[in-house]
Symmetry: C2
Subunit: 382 residues, 2 copies
């Protein structure tokens, strides 16, 4: 039985991870952590019987503690509670929290010797150097859960030293093919309607703006040691090819599957073993057409800005990521337009003074600064 | 310097292998063997300075010996000469002879401790069990050169035990989409016009009839230990995806590249190192469309018969392969029609009494019998 901790258990990745775990006998759940959805967390506690359950929201934690006092679970509260849950001795930790608040608990899990099933891309985008050196020191694996990075991880196999380029596929999201003019009027509802993937709200908006692909480029730079200039984003509308790797001999290896997050989740949870099937197989005898084309960096400026952030390095990816988080929150609250997400990110990047080789506290400062800067930009427009 | 022997050096694969070797400093040529093209073989001798050169045609060998007496090369003659060349201490032997006559020299090379860059598929189709057990005993690698099998080999990597199915791609050849009626009148010239691949005459005809894909199914059964029922042939007209492997978790890994045999040849020659590039990289930012559909087993009966031969096992794949070779020779000599290739193969299979676990001499007997049977079928129709 592999001991699993899930940080962000009530979100999209968290619930799907528990789906996978629920169909197999090979896992036991050590700890669950959630933001505020204590009703779903209680159901998960009763089903998976973890030793620890942490709730970010302190009031929620209090209520949950009352509601599950008939069970043996120990309920923890706040970021400290989540960090305690992350340190509770799991063999693999699914880091599925939203945004940069995933960084500290991920580092705690690594320090406690847990492998990481990495779903929180901000961790690698903002603090990749620190996370990788901690992982190396503790001799643990970081197995990506993002479908693209899981694909790249699978394609590379034992051939890391022969990697030449990465083709990071992108569905293009709900607005692929649209013009800037058309993007002016899109609503939250439009942006949440992803054609292929069922995901959380923040990542779905990022997918519509292609900010998500910018973050994924930054994540791939950290995970696979490839420069951003050697990561080519490719529009692939069908979301069947999850990414590809070109090797030194110009041979390309691709990973394919249905667009279902349970596939990369199961891969990461079972690694280095091969997972049991949790999705139906692909059928190439039914007519299938796969298309590839270049992305429109003029229309989807958030992706272009991701490459800029990668080129600057240091704290710039944090400024990019955290400005994006703040801007998406404003958009989801219908306080700004879709194109203002890009505007706020671009202005934050322009204003940020990059610190090279930042410490963790410097990264956390940058995160706070970028959020405040976006707030100020928004205020200034009111 | 890796010492290389090329059996069939004047053919399509042989010349491309020497192209690859000529652009790298890592190889030295120990021995070359050819059928009868002594003019080209002489050029190769002068360029690559092998220790041995073998010519199947005894008269040709005599002439060559005279023509290159100013060099240090030792010219050998006949099948015995080729077998001596195959045993001459190469570290890797490219087996690029046409047809079942590749079997004995391949076994000789294995006995001499050479890795095999396998381009002669008949070796595995007819004598797979014997070849594999010899390879195991001598602890040598068999690295496939067929683009599909090279792709499968690359996709499997270290995950042999988790392989579930193989998707063997097929361009469909020049007659994809045609009806039986339309195939009645096709000429040798039509059949030699392959849309994507530049190959030798025999394999190009086999590609038009899809006999080649039947042989590849049988080859894959032997190379990868997968049952024929778990090998799905998929029509992929663009010949960019060279094959795919489905693993236990329903994740699919594919290998892609331009349709250029130098890619799998370089892969095999360099294995386990990754080869230097000898083809241009794929470009997914130019619009690219890849299609997949099921093959038409009713129109292309030679493929269906390959699955039947696989189901029977024993000497039946030899009967299938050798009948095909004899029938293609008749077609290339314009002595029979395109559809008679299938007719002769089908009748030979129907007449053959399978021997299970055949010895090498039993396989060689079957080869002779099948050729004679096709001759007799042809005679009977005159």
């Amino acid at each position: 039985m592999k001991k699993v901790c899930i940080l962000g258990s009530t979100g999209s990745i968290g619930t799907q991870a528990l789906d996978v775990i629920g169909t197999e006998d090979n896992f036991s759940v050590t700890a669950l952590a959630a933001g505020s959805n204590i009703q779903l967390l209680e159901e998960q506690i009763r089903k998976f019987r973890p030793t620890f359950a942490a709730v970010y929201d302190e009031e929620g934690a209090k209520m949950l503690r009352e509601n599950v006092k008939d069970t043996a679970v120990k309920v923890l509260a706040g970021l400290d509670g989540i960090r305690e849950a992350a340190s509770a001795g799991a063999e693999i930790t699914v880091t599925a929290m939203v945004g940069s608040m995933g960084i500290l608990p991920t580092l705690d899990a690594i320090e406690a010797g847990s492998d990481i099933a990495l779903a929180n891309k901000e961790t690698m985008v903002c603090a990749g150097d620190i996370v990788r050196s901690a992982a190396k020191r503790k001799n643990i694996h970081i197995i990506p859960v993002d479908s693209e990075h899981s694909a790249i991880f699978q394609c590379i196999g034992e051939k890391q030293s022969a990697v030449k380029r990465i083709f990071l596929t992108a569905s293009g999201g709900p607005f692929a093919g649209k013009t800037r003019k058309e993007l002016e009027r899109v609503t939250v509802r439009d942006a949440l309607r992803h054609p292929n993937w069922s995901m959380g709200a923040k990542i779905t908006i990022d997918s519509a703006s292609m900010m998500n692909k910018g973050l994924e480029v930054l994540e791939a730079v950290q995970l696979f040691g490839v420069e951003a200039k050697d990561i080519q984003v490719v529009i692939h509308r069908q979301s069947i090819v999850h990414s590809m790797v070109e090797f030194q001999d110009h041979s390309v290896i691709a990973q394919l599957g249905w667009p279902d997050m349970r596939l990369p989740i199961a891969y990461a949870l079972s690694y280095p073993k091969v997972a049991m099937p949790c999705v139906k197989p692909l059928d190439f005898t039914e007519k299938m057409t796969l298309t590839f084309e270049k992305p429109d960096l003029d229309t989807f400026g958030c992706l272009r800005l991701g490459y800029e952030a990668a080129r600057m390095g240091g704290t710039m990816p944090t400024a990019y990521s955290s400005a994006g988080e703040a801007a998406v929150s404003l958009f989801l609250a219908e306080k700004c337009t879709f194109l203002e997400i890009e505007e706020f990110v671009e202005k934050t990047i322009a204003a940020h003074k990059t610190v090279i080789n930042p410490t963790l506290s410097c990264i956390i400062e940058t995160d706070k600064w970028a959020r405040a800067y976006v707030s100020a930009l928004w205020e200034g427009k009111q």
